[in-house]
């Protein structure tokens, strides 16, 4: 798969149309009155190319080389990852749990959506989190695209050659036994103060046959915030997983 990045060519007439479309705020107008992309901020999401309708087609694609190509892998939504055949930045998670049985009763799945919403994240900050999680025994989801960037899955260490890259978002993903939840949450809270970014935290659980959700009871009892809205798998996929 060829990976592409964004390039604003000399054709630019400085109309500024593309500037607000960039989710990373990476496009600005220079002293030469033309648009320029800050390559450090740009996460190669191609939103400018696909949506700004540049009147002179000044935004063009350039083939990306490793390791910068990592940015595009974690930014372009519609391209599937060759290892999972799943488009996007993560995996099927709980979306197919009615068929895969991936999350069993008593287990909690975590998706730590780093860089989201809209801030972006340096992979060296991602490594801080994955290494801290690995220290408490977390095992990362093998099919998640981020796990493929780890040089050591046991320690959460990322490959050295990607550490200077920045991505729109990426998702350390793992599951634990429910009793380990407080320990993992403490690690996430601690590392959140050490990174120059944000993350949105999601957890996945199987609902009990009687409709109860033990983790929600725990969250309520410990005054841990959760949103009133979320995702509900309605259980009509087939063949149904056995629990």
């Amino acid at each position: 798969m060829v990976l592409y990045g964004m390039l604003i060519t000399d054709l630019c007439v400085g109309c500024t149309r593309c500037v607000p479309y960039c989710p990373s705020g990476a496009i600005s107008i220079g002293k030469d009155k033309k648009a320029h992309i800050d390559r450090n901020k740009c996460v190669e999401c191609s939103v400018c190319y696909n949506n700004a309708n540049c009147p002179v087609n000044a935004i063009q694609l350039e083939e990306l080389e490793w390791p910068r190509s990592v940015r595009e892998v974690f930014a372009t939504v519609y391209k599937e990852h060759k290892q999972t055949n799943v488009p996007g930045r993560g995996t099927e998670e709980m979306k197919t749990n009615d068929v895969t049985g991936r999350f069993r009763p008593g287990e909690v799945g975590f998706s730590v959506d780093m860089g989201r919403p809209g801030v972006g994240v340096d992979l060296k900050d991602v490594e801080k989190l994955t290494m801290a999680l690995a220290k408490v025994g977390v095992e990362f989801e093998p099919l998640n695209p981020l796990t493929f960037l780890m040089s050591d899955k046991k320690t959460g260490k990322l490959r050295d050659d990607v550490l200077s890259e920045r991505v729109h978002s990426c998702i350390p993903e793992f599951k634990i036994r429910e009793e380990k939840f407080p320990e993992v949450l403490e690690v996430l809270q601690r590392v959140s103060k050490e990174i120059n970014s944000v993350f949105s935290l999601g957890i996945c659980v199987k609902v009990n046959p009687d409709g109860s959700v033990p983790i929600m009871k725990y969250l309520d009892e410990h005054n841990i915030y959760y949103r009133p809205n979320g995702k509900t798998n309605i259980g009509i996929g087939k063949p149904a997983a056995k629990f």
């Binding site: 479309y21 999601g202 609902v207």
Partner: protein
Amino acid sequence: MTHTLHRSGTVESLSIDYPILVIAAQGINSKDSAPKFRKALEIILKHNPVNFGDMRTGNYFRKGLKPILNSTKENSIVHGVFTNKKDLEECLKELKEADLGLSVVVSGLFSEVWPTLKNIGLKPHSLNISLGVFGKKELLPEQDILDITTMCGHHCVSPLLVKKMISDIKRDKISIEEAARELAKPCVCGVFNPLRAEELLEKILKKSGG
């Protein structure tokens, strides 16, 4: 992939926001599923979605109806966005009856979605719960902007574009409806809710005296 999990906003505002997705489990029930995804989209379209799309093709506002319907694949993930429980319920009922074998996930207020499932003889199987945002929150845009941009979970809708649309509405260059549609375009999956965006834009304009 948590692209409809972290939508922010008040309960009142979220009460008109129900995206659904239909997905196959790769390697289990994905074989020959492309026509099933088309069928799922056809069902979604019968129940007044304000946006729809396929993660492999794009959303209605950029791609139009036919390219999405005609391009479903075995690894499609198709979406529809509903703004009321009646349409949501009717759509889910028909998807259940169609028995496509694909997994269906509904996003929205748990307090509204679960009774809706009960009405059609279904109950929650698995949940994805958002514990919110952690870290350097000072890097985030204002909350009322976030309430709009988080409707694209992959964050392809730029806060700067929201501000540009607000400025254009104030200068009568564009209507609120046109602004909401423009904001929906970068959201590839088609999960951005333009009707809710209109309401949120109106609220921002009112607050700023626009």
